[in-house]
Amino acid sequence: MMPAEATREIFWNVPFPWLMYVLLVPTVVVGGWGLYRRLRLWRTGGPAMRWDRPKERLALVWRHAVGQGRTLRRAYSSGRASSSSSVFHLLITVGFVVLTMATTVVMLDHDFGTRIMRGGFYLFFQSLTVDLFGALVLVGIGIAMIRRWLQKPSRLVFTDEASAILIAIFVVAASGFLVEGWRIAATHDPWGPWSPIGYLIAQGSLAVAEPSTLTTAHAVVWWGHCVVTFAFLAWAPYTKLAHVVTAPLNIFFANLDGHAASLRPMDFEADDDATLGVDDLTKMTWKDLLDLDSCTECGRCTAACPAHTAGKSLSPRDIVLGLRDLMHDGAETLLAAPQDDTDNAPALPILQQTGALSAESLWQCTTCAACMEVCPVYIEQLPKILDVRRYLTMEEAEMPPSMADAMTSLERRGHPYPGTRLSRIDWTDGLDVPVMSELDDPGEVDVLLWVGCATALIERNHSVVRSLAQLLQHAGVSFAILGREERCNGDAARRMGNEFLFETMARKNQALLERYGVEKIVTPCPHCFNTFKNDYPTVGGDYHVEHHSSFLAKLVDDGRIQSTQAAEHNVTFHDPCYLGRYNREFDAPRQLVQISTHGRTPEMEQSRENSFCCGGGGGLSFTEEPAEQRVNRQRASQALATGASVVGTGCPFCMTMLEDGVAAVTGDLPSDDAAAKIPADSMPADSMPATRMPAKRMIVKDIAELLWDATEASPDT
């Protein structure tokens, strides 16, 4: 007889159903303790202001926790997009959300007396939909198992815990299907076909077993399913699965100001004896500690890390995991009363002799922020690295020797190039560039052209700033330079960990800029740009600063610069990290590239926010590295792979790093002549095949050079 209304009996065939409620108590207690023991560790951390702008924060949670925005992005590894690994995560998550909804429906009907689980809702949702989404969980687990056990991508961490999680999820989902299937079989459920997977199991089981056997098996597996699921729920908060809770939290408390301002401001006046920088886990902020518990061990950060890709020991993933283990192993120390901070040895020292937390690894970071860009749960790896660098530099005066030389030069001469024979005004020879100190009324000047050390003191970049100055003159912009008075604005010092020197330099520069009434700054250096834009406001300097790409793009838009003799070569644009990832300027330089050439403008595999660092940030351009571990060679190969003959950029560090990289990869000597003739394209623009052939030769050009070459006023034609 067919029941009038579709539904099923809750707790059918289940002996002692009350026992389930009893078991719920230890499950909640044990699981809750798992979360609470993490929470109380975070609470030992120092202050961090992350409660402002709640609407933005919730929107971020919506996009990246609920919507899994970053999880679903393509991950890159060694310059190539890796196969989409995020599908399995989506299947499991969505599947479990639906399964949880189904359990909630059961609870409402059984424990709260509602009568939802019947009729059409029962058939379409509780049976069909839930069955299919349960199947998605199994598919997802299958993909995850294949990845973890067969493909074994190197960015994963292979722990027993991770394997146990996969097995547990599989057992939970599979046993659920068995319970369903055997109930359908044993009760001859007329609505059985609405649960297709369960129905298949029912049919299969009936072929080999009697309904009475299946009834017994159902009762046993029901309890098995219940116990395994409860055990899983109680255990999960002790594993990386805690990210179900910690990840949304961490995303909520993300740094909304982007990477640029993410360095903790320091107060050198306030507390004389506080350790400078961080060498001790007990000195981290609560957000730092929450970061550690949010890590899912997905390894995207390390896969994206240019230093790691180039074969160095730096691994943001292992930094986070190392700190996480340190946090849990040192839980008692963290929970003990805070010590006073005077000259005590660190309670939980961060620095290790070898491995991810060694000084050697931490000095390999180019501060490119690729790790933070790809982290699905918004962990902030970079500030942690720089906090330790601050400690090494300021408390121990320990840094790689060539960085120490650069730092000493910064202190003495205001630039990081000891031994340079160039002066800051050499590039102006033959150009009539006004200098602030020589003007009657510097206040009349609209724009300060901030040249930057790497542009003024590296000969290759003279052609860049000459092109820029001539473009500005051509467009009738009122500008001047500081000339010999210009001093580094502090980026290099800050990224090498010398916050004290940074602040000293920032104060001197602010006084100088104030003297000339400077309000608007244009600079061809993304590092200077970022420092003025994001770092100076934290030490009391506020300027309207633009990178030359956006400033020139506006001049082009206004018709004040016109490209009348665009070239024919193919140009691929390399995004400088401090312009793109740090300040989200991707389009202006591309616009300039576009109007400078009639040729193709192929993109590298990793571009825009996924750009791969040139290897020169964070003070690394001042160091000598083993040839086989140089980041710039990796990037040069990626640029060459586009088949373009020119790689465009907008950064004096990228310029030299890429030139050296291209020279090393192609066997060409770097060209001395800044206005080097562009090599004939390895193939004409219109015949470029879909599969790109790597270019055999390539030159590096700044966007200002490309644009100047393409304007009518350029004398080069």
Binding site: L276, A397, T408, R412, T420, L422
Partner: protein
């Protein structure tokens, strides 16, 4: 061991040639945009003293003769962990010749106390005369050993290794003594910790007006600066010709000989 290290502040010798100018009237270099730095050999001397202190304990006083700006040199030395600092304020310090400088330093050293070792740099990076150390020893009436690259303490005596043209000499000296330090790979100046840089600004610094040293003005200096100029360098490029390599080498050799003869 009580050590005095004399430090001189000079115009950064590493400025680009293009930025280096002189004032022929005043017979001195124009400061321009150049920075003032500690003379590198003085830093080698300080580093040597610091190493001696690290190994054997002791007390390091740093002394400079200069303008108010020379305070920077002393603060940096304090940051490197010198114990005390004194500045002989003299706006005309830049014009002082080695003998005048030695007299000022000797008077200041006597005023500051008694020292077992007085260290100076081999020479200054601006004038490079290299005589202040010897004259200082003479003024103080103690022995002088020049171009020292290493020293050690052995039962109250100093074992001193100095460079010579033909090798090294080892001396055993009973303090007090003045020594001039040369640069070696072992005395590259250390980089101070930022914490110590910050603390250095809170340490006391003794200032002595040069007038208070009651030096008798003397006009007996052996040293007179007549004229200074920046040597002009001219570069010309010439290509020698020839049909084959041999001819070109021949032509090249002839041309070199010609030039050598005309400039002889």
């Amino acid at each position: 061991m009580n050590i005095l290290v004399c430090l001189k502040q000079i115009l950064d010798p590493d400025i680009p040639a293009r930025d280096f100018r002189i004032d022929p009237e005043r017979r001195e270099a124009v400061r321009g945009s150049a920075d003032l730095v500690t003379n590198i050999f003085c830093e080698n001397a300080l580093e040597t003293a610091l190493q001696l202190k690290d190994a054997h304990d002791g007390m390091i006083t740093v002394l400079s003769h200069g303008s108010e700006e020379a305070e920077d040199v002393l603060r940096k030395a304090l940051a490197m962990k010198a114990d005390e600092a004194a500045l002989v304020l003299d706006d005309d310090a830049a014009q002082a010749d080695p003998l005048q400088a030695a007299r000022v330093l000797a008077a200041a050293a006597r005023k500051l106390g008694s020292f077992d070792v007085i260290m100076v740099g081999r020479e200054s990076g601006d004038w490079g005369v290299g005589q202040t150390g010897g004259l200082l020893a003479e003024e103080l009436g103690v022995p002088f050993i020049a171009l020292v690259e290493h020293l050690d303490v052995d039962e109250g005596k100093l074992r001193i290794r100095r460079q010579t043209d033909t090798g090294t000499e080892i001396f055993e000296v009973t303090p007090p003594v003045v020594i001039s330090i040369t640069n070696s790979e072992n005395n590259l100046p250390r980089i101070p910790k930022t914490r110590d840089v910050m603390k250095s600004y809170r340490k006391p610094l003794t200032t002595i007006a040069v007038a208070d040293l009651s030096l008798t003005p003397s006009s007996d200096s052996y040293f007179r600066l007549v004229e200074i100029s920046v040597p002009e360098k001219e570069t010309r490029c010439e290509l020698v010709e020839g049909h084959n390599l041999e001819q070109r080498i021949d032509a090249f050799a002839h041309r070199v000989a010609e030039i050598a003869n005309t400039t002889r």
